[in-house]
């Protein structure tokens, strides 16, 4: 069996600069490659100002617009010269810029990244053009009804917290983005700061060489103005239900979200919720067996505990084959949650789920880049990588009673938002 006490079986070293910038090196044999991740702990969660949904993601785009010393074209050419794969992604709680390349390029990458994080420079025309590329990204997803479903789920599940909009933002706010040039400079000034960033480098990396290079290039990066307070979401007191129509053919869809607690290492609730998601929605689970395999009334069903910095949602997505099955499928999910809340789970089923969770994590570490992805997510939640092994190890402590308890606690109708969508034939 794999050792759950060492979920991340690689040497890790850390250094924190005087500016507050934390640097983490994870040594993984990777054939001379490294994954260089710059994690900014700002995501759509930090979009507190009205009319600015999607701005963290927009700013991810702007980070590729260059500096005076290294303009956009020069930055692109430098990365092309070293044969790097480079991109970025924005989530609810963080934005990550990642570069996969030969380890021999470490010094150059540190230099390039330090420059753009400290000295980003762009004019209003470039800003406005990039805003339209963001609109293009939104449009690329518009034929998928899930984009509309997730917008609706967020809008209805949260009343004050910025989790009430999706990461890419609302169409209305995206269309207005070209008007917010001055705001964008302020956004950079507030959020792209060393005390809000972590560098994570995974692969064939020499930690001392990395730390020295970071000291050299990021050394003068200073702290900025404070970041805005994020409004607290009040407790949900009633169930929200929304029914959407869709023009065109689509599978009918059921998307549910139940409020769950924020990331924490204080108790076992999040591990128990992860296991509950496995028990409810794995392809080995009772619901899948009945609805997908035996009755064949459902094309697919899935569920996950979406753990975030602030209280988030346990989400469920079901694709029945016919719209008239939506109510029946909703009831089937409810019944299964209620059964686990009543009866708990038998030892063998729990043992299988624990085994699945352990091996899934081991599989997720198959390359330096994948290790970095796992690390970035945890850093976004905890601010550090050090809690990972302890957090993973505690899965082994979860009992049937823990699973029963979280099923009974968090899955009350008053903490649910439910969105359904049905399409027209053509």
């Amino acid at each position: 069996m794999i050792d759950t006490a060492a979920a991340l079986p690689f040497p890790v070293s850390e250094r924190t600069l005087a500016s507050g910038l934390r640097v983490v090196a994870v040594k993984v044999e990777s054939g001379g490659l490294q994954a260089y991740y710059s994690i900014v702990r700002t995501g759509s969660r930090n979009e507190v100002d009205p009319g600015k949904s999607g701005f963290a993601h927009f700013f991810e785009h702007m980070m590729f617009r260059g500096t005076e010393r290294c303009p956009q074209e020069a930055y692109k050419d430098e990365l092309r010269r070293i044969g790097a794969s480079s991109n970025a992604a924005t989530f609810n709680d963080y934005t990550v810029f990642h570069i996969l390349s030969s380890s021999a390029s470490l010094e150059k990458i540190v230099e390039l990244e330090a420059d753009r994080f400290r000295n980003l420079s762009y004019g209003e025309p470039a800003f406005q053009t990039e805003a339209r590329a963001v609109l293009g990204e939104y449009n690329a997803g518009r034929s998928d009804p899930l984009q509309r479903m997730h917008e609706s789920l967020a809008e209805n599940a949260f009343t004050r917290h910025p989790y009430g909009h999706t990461v890419i933002g609302s169409l209305e706010d995206i269309e207005a983005m070209p008007d917010h040039f001055a705001y964008s400079r302020d956004f950079f000034d507030r959020h792209y700061r060393p005390d809000n960033a972590v560098l994570l480098v995974v692969g064939d990396v020499c930690d001392e060489q990395l730390f020295a290079a970071v000291e050299r290039h990021y050394g003068g990066w200073g702290q900025g103005p404070g970041r805005p307070t994020i409004p607290e979401e009040p407790p949900q007191t009633r169930e929200n239900r929304v029914a959407l129509d869709w023009r065109g053919p689509t599978a009918p869809l059921l998307l549910e979200g139940w409020r769950i607690p924020a990331f924490s290492t204080e108790n076992l609730d999040l591990q128990a919720l992860d296991l509950l998601a496995e028990l409810l929605f794995s392809r080995h689970g009772r619901l899948h067996r009945r609805l997908v395999l035996e009755e064949q009334t459902v094309e697919s069903l899935s569920g996950a505990s979406d753990v975030r910095v602030d209280p988030g949602l346990f989400t469920v997505l079901v694709r029945p084959r016919r719209p008239e099955r939506l109510a029946e499928v909703e009831a089937a999910v409810d019944d299964e949650i209620a059964r686990i809340a009543r009866e708990g789970v038998d030892p063998r089923t729990l043992r299988d789920a624990l085994s699945h969770v352990r091996y899934s994590f081991a599989h997720a570490l198959s390359s330096a880049d994948r290790v970095a992805k796992v690390g970035a997510e945890l850093i976004s939640l905890a601010g550090e990588l050090g809690v990972l092994n302890g957090y993973r190890a505690r899965f082994a402590e979860v009992t049937s009673e823990d699973v029963r308890r979280v099923a009974g606690t968090y899955f009350q109708p008053t903490s649910r938002t439910l969105v359904t969508l049905t399409g027209s034939p053509s």
């Binding site: 794999i2 030969s102 293009g136 085994s355 081991a362």
Partner: protein, 475 residues
């Protein structure tokens, strides 16, 4: 008779297995389109003689293992990665699935429904970009064995019986078509034992169909797929006469990367459409079949095709910008044909590919997939790029571009709500000026816009078709 590829890595706790068969949708009988993919689904996502499918899933679950099933035009691959703790039960189960499938009625109906939903709901309904690519494929290979989606057609899937599936398995999933690959930290005795399991398959299969050449293109052709789409997805391209086995493939790879390396910011198409003009999210070029591997930017391995085509993927644009975007892409090809690749770009793209291609094999499963592709093609693309790029010249690239890329014999598929209007504009041949709703554009961009908007799109009335989306992939 069974070919094997072994890539041991003693320190790895994981083991990847790929079971590759040189068979695919080119073997679908006429009227039974989708048979190869449905048979593959019955093996990868069905029961075996010893286990119902629910029991297969129950056995895989504690291992966190899966059987990934990929069915393409000329290859079907079953693959998975497991921790070495679980290698023996996983390998046994995988062999059972492929050698002794259950062929249960309930598995057939479920897999058939999934395939039909892929066509009628996903392609026609909710994924306009993939729809555009499949529509281009249907246009380029009309009447050819590549001319239908690998998943099949509505009528083809409806016509397939369990007897068809059983016969296809016996006749096509045979030892002579099989390449078995293992990579990672497996014990020494496992490959031989797994190989032995597959000797229960029939030794030889039915001969593969001989592919005709793609239909000859005498001019440009446009298919406008009419659907209620907020933005217009565009794919364009034309057949190529070369594959990885041809020396010109490698200089053309440099040209392809210069035009638009998949999901990178390097390409001139992306720079001009997104970077300078904010038209859309991305624009990329391909000279062989490409499916993105998960969330990575790299291609899935094991999609070999004996015939390939050049393709440009223009991500959705506003309908009013669609013809401008199409003209911009074609004009860039024409500029490349006429002026050649700029010297500095040639040098940087060549250098980029030397390093970047190493990233294609960054884990055991991908390394194994590439090794299998090397065996199928007779050349390993990463090694071949490493060998050829250092001595390649700008002249090699320019000659390959002039030889193999065309701006007169192309086809394009546009998925749009404005099909009739776009058709009218295309046939009028009038310039397609673009307007910007943001601030001032640099004068050099506006100057180039004037040249792009009048770039000729010589399409005839007969070669400009509007089809309602519901008619695509029906039969």
């Amino acid at each position: 008779m069974i070919r094997t590829i072994l890539l041991p890595s003693a320190t790895s706790p994981l083991v990847s297995i790929r079971v590759y068969f040189g068979v695919g949708s080119v073997c679908d009988p006429r009227g039974k389109e989708g048979l190869a993919a449905l048979t593959a689904a019955m093996l990868g996502r069905g029961g075996s003689r010893s286990r119902r499918y629910a029991e297969v899933l129950a056995a895989l679950y504690p291992m966190a293992a899966r059987i990934d099933t990929q069915a393409d035009k000329e290859a079907v691959v079953f693959s998975g990665t497991v921790h070495r703790d679980n290698l023996e039960p996983y390998a046994d189960l995988l062999a059972d699935q492929i050698v002794q499938p259950r062929f249960a009625d309930e598995d057939l109906e479920r897999n058939r429904r999934d395939a039909l939903e892929h066509i009628t709901r996903r392609l026609r309904g909710t994924d306009d970009e993939t729809l555009g690519k499949e529509a281009l494929g249907a246009l380029l290979y009309r009447g050819h064995p590549y001319g239908h989606p690998c998943a099949g057609t509505e009528a083809g899937l409806a016509a397939i019986t369990l007897s068809d599936v059983k016969a296809f398995h016996v006749g096509r999933f045979t030892q002579d078509r099989l390449i078995l690959g293992l990579a990672g930290g497996y014990p020494d005795d496992v490959p031989a034992r797994l190989l032995e399991r597959f000797t229960a398959l029939p030794p030889r299969g039915l001969p593969l169909p001989v592919l005709p050449p793609p239909p000859a293109r005498r001019s440009a052709e446009v298919l406008l797929v009419e659907k209620d789409a907020p933005a217009t997805a565009i794919s364009l391209g034309h057949p190529l006469r070369i594959t990885r086995a041809h020396p010109d493939f490698y200089p053309l790879t440099v040209a392809r990367s210069y035009l638009g390396e998949h999901r990178t910011f390097n390409g001139v198409l992306l720079q001009k459409m997104r970077g300078l003009r904010g038209l859309n999210y991305g624009d990329y070029a391909y000279i062989e079949s490409f499916i993105q591997d998960g969330a990575s930017t790299f291609p899935l391995p094991n999609l070999p095709r004996t015939q390939q085509h050049f393709e440009i993927w223009i991500r959705p644009v506003r309908p009013a910008s669609a013809l401008f975007a199409l003209r911009l892409a074609l004009r860039e090809i024409e500029v490349l044909r006429t002026d050649g690749i700029p010297g500095p770009d040639f040098e940087e793209t060549r250098r980029f590919l030397l390093h970047y291609s190493r990233l294609w094999t960054q884990d055991d499963s991908r390394r194994l997939g590439h090794a299998i592709d090397g065996l199928v093609h007779g050349v390993d693309i990463v090694s071949e790029l490493a060998r050829r790029l250092p001595t390649m010249t700008k002249g090699d690239v320019d000659r390959a571009v002039r030889e193999h890329l065309s701006t007169s014999h192309w086809a394009a598929a546009l998925v749009t709500s404005q099909a009739a209007a776009l058709r009218r504009l295309l046939l009028q041949g009038a310039p397609a000026p673009i307007t910007y709703d943001t601030g001032s554009m640099p004068p050099e961009v506006l100057e180039e816009d004037r040249r792009i908007e009048s770039f000729p799109l010589p399409v005839s009335e007969a070669a400009t078709t509007v089809l309602p989306v519901a008619s695509l992939f029906a039969s």
